[in-house]
């Protein structure tokens, strides 16, 4: 922090040389490091928007069962490959959201199931309607959902916001549930990579010498190996009889075992840079213990860099999980993740007929982009004194 006060924004100090400091300048002088970072981050509009999108994603993950209107695992051959149906918001001039009743039959020529909406039968959509039972936030048992239909109908048979898959499961409901797994698997994986990265990167940067050489070579070796074949091999070796939860953690471990290298490099770089800083040297001279130097003096000043690097590591984790599950080697049904949903889109013939099966690609792309922009913004803000 000591160097922070000295190398403050040069334009601000120049501006104050000839005159009394204005209140705006004073605000900058007394602001804490985190405050400066926040001001800097606020200027990065794209990162702000991305941050909001990410928060939105996690809110969806939290309230997945409330946002879903159909049980994601209930399959029904009668509703197989139903195209998306819009919800009509107005009936004439009156606000009354409704959908048309849909009848399905088999085309006698092509043997495909075709569906026809019947505009004469309007089924009203209710907010906060009753649906399948679940525990809100895992605690409160309830059956209230954001949208639903009256007691006479079943939401599974009437609302098809994003269509259904081959087994007739509602895609919107599956998508919100998939958000829960896909968005958290990255977090767990990144936490593990962070632990490995900070530990090994820290040892590497702090002690140098032989340990440093060894760890650096290890990183180089890991980075020059094509990872996907390795992931595939390791994931294929997971026992078939494992539960969803076991597979979930095993996959995160596999992904992070090969993914910690970038974080380790950032940490090592920071340790190397800080080791020679005046405030660290003076801490050492006044006789601080090694632990105190690391955790009280060094860690706070590179915390922000770590957060930025972690954010930038998240999208790679999400893509890895999606890729593995897409191949059928990652999470397996009944687990629902974006990759598992995309597995249905593997065959181009299926996709050509039912294009909505590709929809789960959209959240993957949006989430990855948002994490990238957010990470960029955080990285800029992590060093609020630079230009």
């Amino acid at each position: 922090m000591a160097e922070a006060q000295l190398s403050l924004d040069p334009s601000a100090s120049q501006a104050t040389q000839g005159r009394r400091p204005t209140t705006a300048d004073e605000r900058i002088f007394v602001a804490s490091q985190w405050q400066l970072m926040w001001w800097r981050f606020r200027k990065h509009k794209l990162a702000m928007v991305s941050g909001a999108i990410i928060i939105g994603f996690y809110l969806v993950a939290l309230g997945a069962d409330f946002l879903a209107y159909a049980d994601p695992n209930v399959s029904e051959a009668q509703r197989s490959l139903m195209p998306p149906q819009p919800i009509y918001l107005f009936d004439g001039w009156r606000f009354s959201p409704h959908v048309y009743a849909v009848r399905g039959r088999r085309d006698p020529m092509t043997f495909k199931r075709v569906y026809q909406a019947d505009p004469s039968q309007k089924i009203p959509i209710r907010f906060f309607a009753r649906g399948f039972e679940y525990n809100f936030l895992g605690l409160i048992p309830t059956s209230v959902h954001l949208i639903g239909v009256d007691a006479g109908h079943r939401a599974e048979n009437t609302i098809f916001l994003l269509g259904t898959d081959v087994q007739g499961r509602d895609q919107w409901s599956r998508l919100v549930y998939a958000t829960r797994i896909s968005m958290t698997i990255g977090l767990v994986g990144v936490a593990l990579s962070l632990f490995l990265g900070v530990l090994l990167g820290g040892v590497s940067g702090l002690y140098g010498g032989f340990a440093d050489t060894l760890i650096q070579r290890l990183i180089e070796i890991l980075r020059s190996i094509p990872t996907i074949p390795l992931w595939m091999g390791l994931a294929a070796a997971l026992p078939r009889e494992w539960s969803i939860l076991q597979i979930y953690f095993a996959i995160t471990i596999i992904i992070s075992l090969l993914g910690w290298t970038e974080l380790a490099r950032v940490v090592r770089g920071r340790f190397l840079a800080l080791r020679e800083e005046d405030f660290v040297v003076s801490a050492r001279l006044v006789g601080c213990t090694q632990m105190r130097i690391i955790f009280v003096h060094m860690v706070p000043s590179f915390m922000s860099h770590i957060i930025a690097a972690t954010t930038l590591a998240l999208p790679a984790m999400i893509i890895s999980e999606t890729a593995l599950s897409f191949l059928g080697l990652g999470l397996r049904p009944p687990a629902i993740s974006w990759g598992v949903l995309l597995q249905q889109a593997q065959n181009v013939q299926t996709v050509a007929i039912s294009a909505w099966l590709m929809l789960p690609a959209l959240p993957v792309i949006v989430a990855v982009l948002a994490f990238n922009f957010l990470g960029d913004g955080l990285r800029d803000a992590a060093d609020p004194y630079g230009h």
Binding site: S224, P226, G233, A236, L327, G328, L342, V351
Partner: protein, 329 residues
């Protein structure tokens, strides 16, 4: 320079060793061995393998020995050019893999080449015309390239080709050349099919390289020597291409070593979507069937090829940039 190359070589040898251990671990990890799944497979078709037969098979394949002995035997076999039998295909692994390994490398190398040829001029353009319409356009495409996983991109392109051109743009050969022996016509056919997979594979790398090139060149363009060169009346093209681009090229080139493994890695999964005759689909099948020698050999070969590719690009880098030669001696 020799010390540098020697150091790289030693590292490459270690990497190959690490890959071989990992490949062997992959083979060993699944519970049971191949004989277990072989027995299950035979039972499914109605024939029964007796305990004695199973034991004999285990001894024949050396599955009864300690792990390090099995590893050693595997290594010795590979050194002799014998990759074992693919138990699923009942043919030698080398024969099953056949051209697929080379085609994997051809596709990956084409993607790498495309990455260079696209990223360099676009990176220079984006830096020189900073904040122009073109710059924004390429930045946008670049971000999209980073965010869209390449297998999804392959899927979308395949879908578009199917819907708008009613053509299957997957594969590496036209039908008539698929099983034909190699000829110039077949090579030409391959070249015609190469651009789409190469573009899909290379897009993410290209996006990243454009950003690196743009950032490096922007740093250089602000330096006083550029102003001096311009003030002395050098033609603009020469001012930019002769000095700042050459300096900016170095960090750009140094990332290539990491790009190659990344592309090879991506080619596995893209091949599955585009049904390219590379090792990708074979690897997936082998892993699902627990065909250990085939899967292990593919992982090992991919690793070795990648290490060689990286080594070559490292050596090219030393040749381009004399500063590295001095640094590491």
């Amino acid at each position: 320079m020799l010390t540098y190359i020697a150091r790289r070589l030693v590292l490459a040898v270690f990497t190959v060793w690490a890959v071989s251990v990992l490949a062997f671990a992959i083979i060993q990890l699944p519970p049971g061995d191949y004989i277990t799944s072989y027995i299950a497979q035979m039972a499914a078709t109605g024939s029964i393998v007796s305990e004695q037969e199973a034991e004999n098979l285990r001894i024949q394949y050396g599955l009864d020995r300690p792990i390090y002995v099995q590893y050693y035997k595997w290594m010795v076999m590979i050194a002799q050019g014998n990759f074992g039998m693919s138990m699923e295909w009942r043919r030698p692994v080398g024969e099953v893999i056949g051209d697929r390994l080379w085609l994997t490398m051809v596709v990956s190398f084409a993607a790498l080449l495309l990455t260079w040829t696209l990223a360099l001029p676009i990176g220079i353009y984006s830096a020189v015309r900073q904040y122009s319409l073109g710059d924004y356009l390429f930045t946008f495409i670049g971000f999209l390239g980073l965010a869209v996983p390449n297998f999804l991109l392959a899927l979308v392109i395949l879908y578009l080709g199917f819907v708008f051109f009613d053509a299957n743009i997957g594969g590496l050969f036209s039908l008539e050349y698929q099983d034909a022996p190699w000829s110039w016509a077949k090579v030409w056919d391959l070249l015609k099919h190469l651009p789409i997979p190469a573009l899909i594979l290379g897009l993410a790398g290209t996006a990243q390289q454009i950003r690196i090139m743009r950032a490096n060149l922007l740093d250089e363009l602000r330096k006083p020597y550029v102003v001096t060169a311009r003030a002395k009346g050098l033609p603009e093209a020469k001012v930019i291409l002769k000095y700042p681009v050459r300096v900016a090229l170095n960090p750009f080139a140094s990332t290539i070593g990491y790009l190659f493994p990344y592309i090879v890695s991506g080619s596995i999964i893209v091949s599955l979507v585009l049904s390219l005759p590379t090792v990708g689909p074979l690897l997936l099948k082998a892993l699902i069937a627990q065909d250990m020698f085939l899967a292990g050999t593919i992982v090992l070969m991919l690793g070795v090829m990648t290490v060689i590719g990286t080594l070559i690009s490292d050596i090219i880098l030393v040749w381009i940039d004399p500063r590295i030669r001095l640094e590491d001696t």
